[in-house]
Symmetry: C2
Subunit: 274 residues, 2 copies
């Protein structure tokens, strides 16, 4: 394979193996060229990936030396993508009877989900995350998108146990908005002791559901790596959870004028510790 | 940007814009080189993508000429990936009380989902598919994976209507295994008249649920582009649907010996019309 072709192949290979340590000796054998040629290729790839905001290419020296590609977007790009999605949310025909917001089309389009996944992954790129947790139904596509970028599994909490889940661990929780006691359940096999769990969901009001997932993380003897919600809705009073990050925030839904007041969420707050 | 760097950037760009017609004049402007240089780059990229089974790179001549990258895997690669997933299914600790099979870990790992998405997308690459339909909960990750590769939206049918879905269209259907009448619902906004809908799901026995989704497609005045299920379970008697494709098939679950007899599904049948 000529250098030009190798560069194309190598670029494709790195993109499809994110967050993995790739051995330089094996790459050199695979492409049938000296390690120095592989290193030269990496100079080009690194420069382009960093300039274009694709991600970081790190090389590690030594006999076990390797290269690792970590997808990474800039703060500017994260904010830009968030603004693009905020525009979709501001469309007036989204307001449903009762002041609910229709989100299913936004969360059913792969290009939007890729952006949401990148924005959340960006926020947690320097944290140890072993697994993503969400609750059925609309949180699932978000969990899957984040999991893809971080290259970790995701688990789905349900409100009702199913025969296809085997033994489950169940917790009760208070719904934050309606103060009812509810139940949520997760297959016992889903998590191992000591894993770092990132909770994600599509929408949060009183944070009751999020709080339920937090107690599940605890009951599984796992650690909470973080909480990220796509959209934070208006809520009067104190939320059950305050250690969350939101991408977008709705302060007010004006049903009469059919307008939604959409703002950037607290992940863009300057004083927030990152 | 030098040619080497341009090749890296261009490769990344194509991979991230699947199924899109990209204008050659605009690419030439963007990279500040002659169209002939872009065409030369594409020779390398096309050769590698085709040899490595990444996809097809087509160029279209003329003043409106362009280039389009379509992800595509070979029949061999599709079969190979299916065998890899079959191995996971054969693990003995998957059998749950009642003869159910635990799938949540397989369907919660991005690398498996990418494979399943590629296998299904491969099967429908020459069909017009405008939207993917699935039913909550476990079909969702599969729908999302196929939608990503085909670059189309996906919609989620539910068993219970939610206030966040707006007006819904509901159908009743007979559960194939238990002969109960059930209800399923989809937001009216989800589909437009005349769209070509590919139905996907994780598991099929009597095909009652699939049949329900078929009638939903009909009630929305849409067309059925196909039906693809990840796993076809053992079923005695006649299924409600016979025009489906399955990736894998379980003929027998031997609870005493804890073995699952997993075979390739009918998408690999040679006599099946493709």
């Amino acid at each position: 394979m000529k250098r030009n072709e190798r560069l194309v192949d190598f670029t494709n290979f790195l993109i499809n193996h994110p967050n993995k340590m790739l051995n330089l000796n094996e790459l050199s054998k695979h492409y049938e060229v000296a390690k120095s040629s592989i290193s030269e290729d990496l100079v080009f790839i690194r420069r382009v990936f960093e300039n274009q905001g694709v991600g970081i290419v790190e090389t590690f020296p030594g006999s076990l030396g390797g290269v690792r590609f970590t997808p990474y977007i800039s703060d500017e790009r994260s904010r830009e993508m968030t603004e693009e999605i905020a525009e979709l949310l501001r469309e007036e025909n989204r307001i449903l009877p009762g002041g609910y917001i229709y989100l299913s089309d936004i969360l059913g389009l792969p290009s939007n989900l890729r952006k949401i996944g990148q924005i959340i992954a960006h926020e947690y790129h320097d944290k140890q995350v072993d697994v993503i947790m969400t609750i059925a139904t609309k949180g699932i596509p978000i969990a899957q998108s984040v999991a893809e970028i971080l290259d970790v599994p995701f688990v789905i909490v349900r409100r009702d146990p199913k025969v296809t889940e085997g033994a489950t661990l169940n917790v009760n929780y208070m719904s934050g908005s309606s103060s009812r006691v509810e139940n949520m359940t997760l297959s016992k096999r889903s998590l191992s002791i000591g894993q770092n769990v990132l909770i994600v969901d599509d929408f949060m009001k009183g944070a009751g559901t999020i709080n339920g997932m937090k107690s599940l993380v605890h009951e599984f003897d796992c650690f909470l790596a973080g909480i990220a919600v796509f959209l934070e809705g208006p809520f009067k009073g104190e939320r059950l959870v305050d250690d969350y990050k939101s991408i977008l925030k709705v302060d007010r839904i004006d049903i009469a004028n059919r307008t939604i007041d959409v703002k950037l969420g607290n992940i863009f707050d300057e004083n927030e510790p990152k």
